[in-house]
Amino acid sequence: MNSRQKLTLIRILISCALLAGIHFIPVNGVIKALLYLVPYLIIGYDILFKAFKGIRNLKALDECFLMAVATIGAFILGLYSGEGYEEAVAVMIFYQTGELFESYAVGKSRASISDLMEICPDHANIMGPEGSLIRKDPEDIETGTVIYIEPGERVPIDGIIEEGKTAFDLSPLTGESVPVSAGPGDEAVSGSINLKGLIAVRTTKDFSESTASKILELIEDAGSRKSRSEKFISKFARIYTPAVVLAALAVGIIPPLVSIIFGNGAEWSIWIYRALTFLVISCPCALVISIPLSFFAGLGGAGRSGILVKGSNYLETLSKVDTIALDKTGTLTKGVFDVTAIHPSDMDEDTLLHLAAHCERYSSHPIGESLKRAYENENDGCSVTDVEEISGKGVRASINGMDVLAGNEKLMDAYGIEYKECHLKGTTVHVAVNGKYAGHILISDIIKENAKSAIEDMRRKGAKKIVLLTGDNEYAANDVGSVLGIDKVYWGLMPDEKLHVMEELIKSSSSSDKKVAYAGDGINDAPVLTLSDVGIAMGAMGSDAAIEAADVVIMDDDPGKISKAMAVAKKCMRIVKENIVFAIGVKLICLILSAFGMTGMWMAIFADVGVMILAVLNSIRCMFVSSNI
């Protein structure tokens, strides 16, 4: 608690004690009023002061003014009836308690969410003249400078490791807690935490262009892209207070006048009391605080799981996603070629892979690379000689004296070797040993392990239609589509054709409550990301182009995060709606009850503060993202 909050708390306690004490003093009339004035002034002096200032600045309709009118009115009514002073003091006490809670709860959640976002270190170490590290402002570091990062520190600027081995904790960026080891030549992304050793990093960007700064900028800007709900609330707040004040005037004047016309007693004090009760309920605090807080907590919670949402308006859109278009390579598949099947004809799988990998010892072709990756100890004692690359066909080599051919169908045809077609889709490498067919190895882009469950989760979170947009060929596209259970596959698309398909998708989901999302890696599909209702960039860590183009940025390349983002958005919108309905509902009920005299000021302020506290607590729930969505 800060000092102002502490002071308020002390004032609340003192006035409560005084209120209880005065209750037992047997005095009446003006002396009683004066006694109650003491706790009233202790708890409410700042409100009265602000109310006075408001009048002077011709801004009468602020809540301090209304509170002052309501409580002073109650005091004056008390002078006539001889009671009701407690009520005036209690209203002030409750009001202040509510304010205190609001500022405390918001301060707490602000701090805890901001902590999550504290990814930018405030210094960078460079080597000083005496060989010791000196701290500098990261803004002053020029691109290409070598900076040193000690264990436990965060990387301040993007760069490449020059010296030292370590492991990075990328959880501030991706939400993934498994450390990633790195050494010379590897990228050091700003915001990640250096876990093990001292490393020297040559910066490749300016501080302001680095990932961490970009993310921070994005988060800070997120609040200014306001959602429809937030705009609704600020409009509502602007109308609500004057409307309630008018209603209060009506309640205070019309019924007594009507009563006089019909020849009955005016009963002014009853109706004025009811009007004052209206003023107590006139503050829209619960709504005004809880809605932005819900969105802020939602954005914070998503950010903690490595999902950056650029504004609360996008959370709103995400919650209404009906159609999801997905890019294939890099989004659903790993985007690297890997050995996916080995079909030997008369030897074991390992031997076949062994021979094929040796043929590619000197090759830098992607296919050769993937074979070498699949057979880990390629550089063993075997002799590989007479390597001959047959362009467009494959490789011929002598391995431990055996004449080995490895390549496509054309190579087999050229040497008159009979081969078997593979029943699986992908690139096939046939192998022949000493002129005899030995089998084949299938290489294809592999689907990410969790892609299938990711698609299922998207459906569970409300996606009715999931389509695949890819520039890849028919076979590869349909293969992925059928394995993952995708509704429609668009293959062989050029970038402008992707745009065209996206236009069609947006047109066909004409209803404003059905939004189209697009998820891609953001490198060559930026226009599609921009065109879609909500563009999701995958694997954006270190790529600021993607961060620019997208509305939602998923830091790692986990397709499961798409449904997670949808889940966060849905939860957040549900809580926002709960708060709107609950807060407006309770206020309306209070207004109606007090118009009919069924509830007094006590109840009114109690309901008002209670709603605010519950709504704030409900909002904070948005921050917690379930890990098993």
């Binding site: 602000k50 801004k59 969410i113 503050c283």
Partner: protein, 72 residues
Amino acid sequence: MKKNYKIDVDCANCANKMEDAAKKTPGVKDASVNYMMLKMKVEFEDEADAEAVMAEVLKNCKKVESDCNIYF
């Protein structure tokens, strides 16, 4: 020209009022208050002097909410 300022204010409704007050200040093209981050983002008119305009903005904000501050 856009600039970000740190602000101090105690309630969400007051933050909304500050936003309105800032928007109406001459020399300000657009303003947006982020209550949760306690930041005010101000877009100035082209030839405006940021310091002078912000002094006015603060004065106007103080009128609607005496308990606020803008650090510039």
